[in-house]
Amino acid sequence: MRRKRNVAIVMVGMILILLLAVAGCSQKEGSKSGDDGQGTAKLEGTLTIAGSTSVQPFSEVLAEKFQEKNPGVKVNVQGGGSSQGVEATISGAADIGAVSRDLSDEEKNRAKLTVTPIAIDGVAIVVNPANQVSGLKTEDVKNIYLGNIKNWKEIGGIDAPITVVSREDGSGTRDAFTNIVMNKEDIVKSAIIQNSTGAVKTTVAGDKNAIGYVSMSKVGKDIKALDIDGNQAIEANVKSGTYKLQRPFIYITKDNPQGLAKAFIDFVLSPEGQNIIVEEGAFKIK
């Protein structure tokens, strides 16, 4: 019995030591950044950004750079989705909400929200690199997603059934796609639904008969972006407006941005911030 108790005490002790060690580690880190803060920066405090997972990687890189410039500042970047971002901004849990679609009327009515577009993102129609089709008309894409065109041979491909891949209802990317390509008509029910860019990418990269749509910034070697109506999915065409599939990334704040939130948004809109956005694959707002 005594022996058992000893073991129990040792175990509890180990856990406590581990806890302390962990606490010590992070505290050290904390005080270090505090010391550095006395140097160049005037800004101090914590800023929380929450919302769209499409905007999150951009916000994270922007936050990293912003924290390097202002060592007294800690920026927390949360995902959760556009709606969670709006919810959190209204409730005050977040200082800035990140949204990858236009605000709904209901959201606009709930509180006085200030909208600041920070970037433009193109939406690419993508297929497997093995697919011999390299371009489609908007009308064809629409008919594929309506379920009217079911086989690649109808539009110049091989004889194989098309696997239609779409995003979930409410996604900013889907919102842009249904508004611009589908004219708000319903996407065929048998479409595979994935709730993230990465999952759509993986699905299309793995299935040589699949078609999907993702943020242009995420097109890589494993998926191929199609020309739409003869326009390549590139920045110049997005900016000139000949490539119509695009949507804004926006930051929202309760009332007008102030203090830290304002400093951060100013940084994002500065040439340096906009360059970071371009490096990450989206396009400048102006």
Binding site: K4, Q56, E64, K74, Q78, A93, N195, A199
Partner: protein, 275 residues
């Protein structure tokens, strides 16, 4: 004992086969994760902070966050969970409405999908109680999620106590609480440890509920009120947002190795205790 018939042999064969299937599944999944993850792995990956949204650098803060959240959840859930089990098994009358209700709610809690805990944690802890996305919100949510496991395994363990033990202790003049502390709990310890291991597994692996309650901020948490991103959430973000599938598997590798270590330690302590 009679001779083993052909039919029995066949059935034995089936039992062996099912054991083999389990091993096969485990080996192929772990093997796959390790084979893909080991390529990214080095000391910097474990000890450095992530850079560039996680596509460069390491995963150190996510390891610390995972530890914090898991420990907090256990600190909250183990006393309550074991306490509830002891109450149900040793104090409550089995016919009482209250015991029936607690058992039913415990079962219900065990069946509730993690996404619902996430929604609840978000609405109640993060927004309603104003805890924000934090280790605290995440830890409490996790504690709620692992409570049923801890209680149930403790209950099952207490149930297996031969009645003589309890009777002898009471007959020797020990009070009820002394009997529980000196006889029942030590006897039930292996069962409790099993519950804790299962819970750690769930805590380390949880994603849906933690994104909504602990948040997904990549920084190093400095207090209970800071948001945090666990390894599993990091893995999910890396993979689902297409940031880096490679690093996602690297992270998965670390998670799996951590689970291996936890299991090893738990088994070690179990062996010591049962000696």
């Amino acid at each position: 004992m009679g001779a083993v018939s052909i039919k029995d042999r066949f059935i034995y064969g089936l039992f062996y086969l099912s054991g083999l299937i389990i091993v096969g599944i485990l080996v192929s999944i772990i093997g796959y994760v390790i084979a893909r993850g080991v390529l990214v792995l080095n000391l910097e990956f474990i000890l450095e902070s992530p850079r560039h949204a996680g596509s460069a650098g390491g995963i150190f803060p996510t390891i610390i966050s995972t530890l914090y959240l898991t420990l907090l959840a256990l600190v909250i859930a183990v006393p309550i969970g074991v306490g509830a089990a002891v109450y149900l098994e040793e104090y409550a009358l089995s016919s009482s409405k209250f015991a029936w209700l607690v058992n039913l709610t415990a079962e219900t809690l065990a069946g509730i999908p993690s996404i619902i805990f996430g929604l609840f944690g978000f609405v109640f802890l993060v927004i309603f109680l104003g805890m924000g996305w934090s280790i605290l919100s995440g830890g409490i949510t996790l504690a709620i999620m692992i409570l049923p496991t801890i209680t149930r395994t403790a209950q099952e363990a207490i149930l297996t106590l031969p009645p003589e033990y309890r009777e002898n202790s009471l007959a020797l003049g020990a009070s009820k609480w002394q009997t529980i502390r000196k006889v029942i709990l030590p006897f039930a310890l292996p069962g409790i440890v099993t519950g804790v291991i299962l819970s750690i597994g769930r805590a380390v692996g949880e994603t849906a509920a933690l994104i909504l309650t602990a948040g997904s901020s990549l920084g190093m948490p400095q207090s209970l009120f800071d948001p945090a991103r666990t390894m599993s959430v990091h893995l999910y973000m890396l993979a689902m947002e297409g940031i880096s599938l490679e690093r996602a598997f690297g992270t998965a590798f670390v998670v799996v190795v951590l689970i291996l270590i936890i299991n090893y330690l738990a088994n070690l302590s179990l062996r010591r205790l049962s000696r």
